[in-house]
């Protein structure tokens, strides 16, 4: 039995269904990230777990206990908000201790708990300040401290890093990960940033329009997206999704991509998924991640199925650690990820290597993966 279980959860607001039957579970000590674009229902889902919003149907269980109707304070949870939600009229210490105060914890015990948390988060020198006197990163720490001090069964994070600048965000991300590793708590984390999702999660739920599109480990989500939406949403730069058709070349299939003012390129598929046979001569979406499309020298040596094709390079983007090259296939800009020192000039025609073992195919009508 999992630690957090969500069964058939629905939330309606008048006639609008915001959550359309969510089923999720998370093991104890797990780190679940709810990711998706704005309006997908991920924050609502988090709020229902916290008890800040009611649910219309379904059940939420923590550690085997149904918590549907419990007051938020009775659910043994802690929550960190996007805006940190620090009480502006109280000091840092007051903020951290407010929950304990409400529960009637004696003052000296509160003080001990504050000191302990302050030490862990290195905010001891801030305890007497008001939130308005803190920097963004400091507020973030205090907000975490307020959650930590409760020692809850379940931590809820609602986009906690989105108000921080880029560098601080990376630092705090690592900090959260470390915290998770050292304390072993169970975390549900909402973000719209797929990098946070990939780096932090033990399980990811990709959501859209109140439905979970795919639920799995980060690797599953990244390598085996179940539909176009997940494929497109996860990964940076995003997966190349190229309109193509399936042709046959004697023994097997090939994928054919149109090009502007040039011959179409046709790549032979060695171990094509079985479902592809139904699409012979028909349009499909050919998905290949930028790192699976490289200069031939940089291609993965032990990949079993590498195809080469000459491509017209339109733009070169040196990013330091890598160089990205943009070409045009099937009417779309396609990004290839090259070695940093790859010697390629824009406007030239260069052979590129397609790692077809990592390629995926989608039915353009249903947007589902063809397997």
């Amino acid at each position: 039995m999992a630690f957090l279980e969500i069964d058939g959860l629905k939330k309606r607001f008048g006639a609008v269904e915001i959550l359309k039957g969510i089923d999720l579970d998370l093991e104890k000590g797990g780190f679940l990230v709810l990711v998706g674009p704005s309006g997908c229902g991920k924050s609502t889902l988090l709020n229902t777990i916290a008890g800040l919003e009611t649910i219309t149907e379904g059940e939420i269980r923590v550690d085997g206990r149904t918590i549907n109707d419990l007051h938020p304070s009775k659910r043994d949870i802690a929550m960190v908000f996007q805006s940190y939600a620090l009480y502006p009229n109280m000091t840092v210490a007051g903020n951290i201790a407010f929950g304990m105060e409400m529960r009637g914890v004696p003052a000296d015990e509160r003080q001990k708990a504050i000191d302990k948390v302050a030490k862990v988060l290195q905010i001891g020198h801030l305890l007497k300040r008001k939130p308005s006197q803190l920097s963004g990163g400091q507020r973030q720490r205090v907000a975490m401290g307020r959650a930590l001090v409760r020692d809850p069964k379940l931590f809820l994070f609602d986009e906690p890093l989105s108000n921080l600048d880029a560098k601080l965000r990376v630092d705090m991300r690592i900090e959260i990960k470390r915290l998770h590793a050292t304390t072993g708590t169970t975390i549900v984390y909402v973000t719209h940033d797929q990098i946070e999702a990939m780096t932090l999660a033990t399980k990811i739920a990709v959501m859209r329009d109140g439905e979970v599109q795919q639920f799995g480990t980060p690797a599953e989500i990244y390598n085996n997206p179940v539909n176009l939406f997940v494929a497109d949403f996860m990964g940076s730069p995003a997966m190349n999704l190229i309109p193509a058709t399936i042709g046959s070349n004697g023994s097997g299939f090939s994928v054919v991509m149109e090009r502007e003012a040039r011959q179409p390129i046709s790549l032979p598929l060695a171990n094509a998924p079985a479902g592809l046979s139904a699409f012979q001569g028909k349009p499909i979406i050919f998905g290949v991640r930028p790192e699976a499309l490289t200069d031939p020298e940089g291609a993965e040596r032990n990949a079993s199925n590498i195809a080469r094709a000459d491509c017209h390079i339109e733009v070169i983007e040196p990013a330091g650690s890598d160089t990205f090259a943009v070409t045009n296939l099937g009417g779309k800009a396609v990004v290839a990820r090259l070695r940093a020192d790859a010697n390629i000039q824009p406007g030239t025609v260069t052979p590129l290597a397609f790692n077809l073992t990592k390629a995926v195919f989608f039915d353009p009508a249903t947007e589902r993966r063809i397997v």
Binding site: N47, G99, R146
Partner: protein, 314 residues
């Protein structure tokens, strides 16, 4: 954070154009200040003049022989009806009525605003709309039915007294006035607080809920301590309105021992026979207006700040 950081003068004109510009602005501001100050000035100089000077001189002229006598008379001798104890006798009546009315209506407005924004329920907006529309009812048309209701409070008070020996304020004219001002004040106070709390982050309330704070604990520990700007606006608004009310006060608390300042002032000023002692009248009027003037002058800065913080939003 002045929004209009000295407009684009730097690139169009030189220092001279800028100076001319400033002179025009200050000139206009001063001119309008004169317009606004004029009645106050007239009242003030008149209150220091002798009757001779008032009758024969120009109303804008400064007093030739300033005298404090009218003020002394207004403060401690002037008559309202047959009672001649000066305005000082009615100060306390007003305070006794205004302070509870302001406190209660502000507190209720805050609670209502809190419920309407942070504990929404189906129909909350309609409820608010109905309460807001109440601000527009002309008070003259509620005078009589309200009197009837207050009369029944009074009879209830008598029954209570017979039963328990105490009226609990039922039938007391001051309590009645407080009641009336609270009833017709909550529309506006609710509006002020609702607009302010509308912009108040919901996440703070959520966080407090998770921390285990109850409905009232959230209000007292989180909402109220962070509402100072709007409290200032509401208190100023309510204080001046209630202090200045004449209609309800004269109808429900006209008797000499409970009458508020405005009724007494009206009795002093509204004389229809004899030589009108304009200097005393003006001094009495200034005395009656002193608390509200003080409130505006002292709290004016917070007033704009408070308006900024939410009262002016739709």
């Amino acid at each position: 954070m002045s929004a209009v950081a000295t407009p684009a003068r730097q690139n169009t004109g030189g220092i001279r154009a800028r100076t001319v510009n400033r002179i025009v602005i200050y000139g206009l501001l001063a001119l309008f200040a004169l317009f606004y100050l004029m009645p106050l000035f007239v009242m003030l100089v008149t209150s220091f003049k002798t009757m001779d000077e008032i009758q024969n001189g120009n109303m804008l002229a400064l007093p030739q022989a300033p005298t404090f006598a009218p003020w002394i008379r207004a403060w401690s001798e002037v008559c309202s009806g047959l009672t001649c104890v000066g305005m000082k006798g009615y100060f306390w009546n007003s305070i006794k009525m205004v302070v509870p009315a302001v406190v209660i209506s502000t507190l209720l407005g805050a609670l209502n605003g809190y419920v309407l924004t942070k504990w929404r329920f189906r129909g909350a907006t309609l409820v608010f709309g109905l309460m807001l529309f109440a601000c527009f009812i002309p008070f003259q048309s509620v005078l009589l039915p309200m009197a009837t209701i207050l009369g029944s409070f009074g009879r209830f008070g008598v029954k209570l007294q017979n039963a328990t020996g105490l009226t609990f304020g039922f039938g007391n004219p001051t309590v009645n006035l407080v009641f009336v001002h609270v009833v017709y004040g909550i529309g506006f106070t609710t509006l002020f607080f609702r607009n302010y709390y509308e912009a108040f982050p919901n996440e703070l309330v959520k966080a407090a809920q998770i921390d285990g704070a109850s409905f009232f604990q959230i209000f007292r520990r989180i909402m109220l301590p962070n509402s100072l700007p709007i409290i200032v606006v509401t208190v100023i608004y309510q204080f001046t309105n209630i202090w200045n009310d004449f209609l309800f006060a004269s109808a429900y608390a006209g008797s000499g021992d409970v009458m508020p300042m405005t009724v007494a002032l009206n009795n002093v000023v509204n004389t229809s026979t004899g030589v009108v002692e304009y200097n005393v009248n003006m001094a009495a009027a200034m005395i009656a207006a002193l608390p509200t003037l003080l409130v505006y002058v002292l709290a004016g800065r917070y007033f704009v700040r408070g308006l900024m913080a939410g009262a002016v939003k739709g």
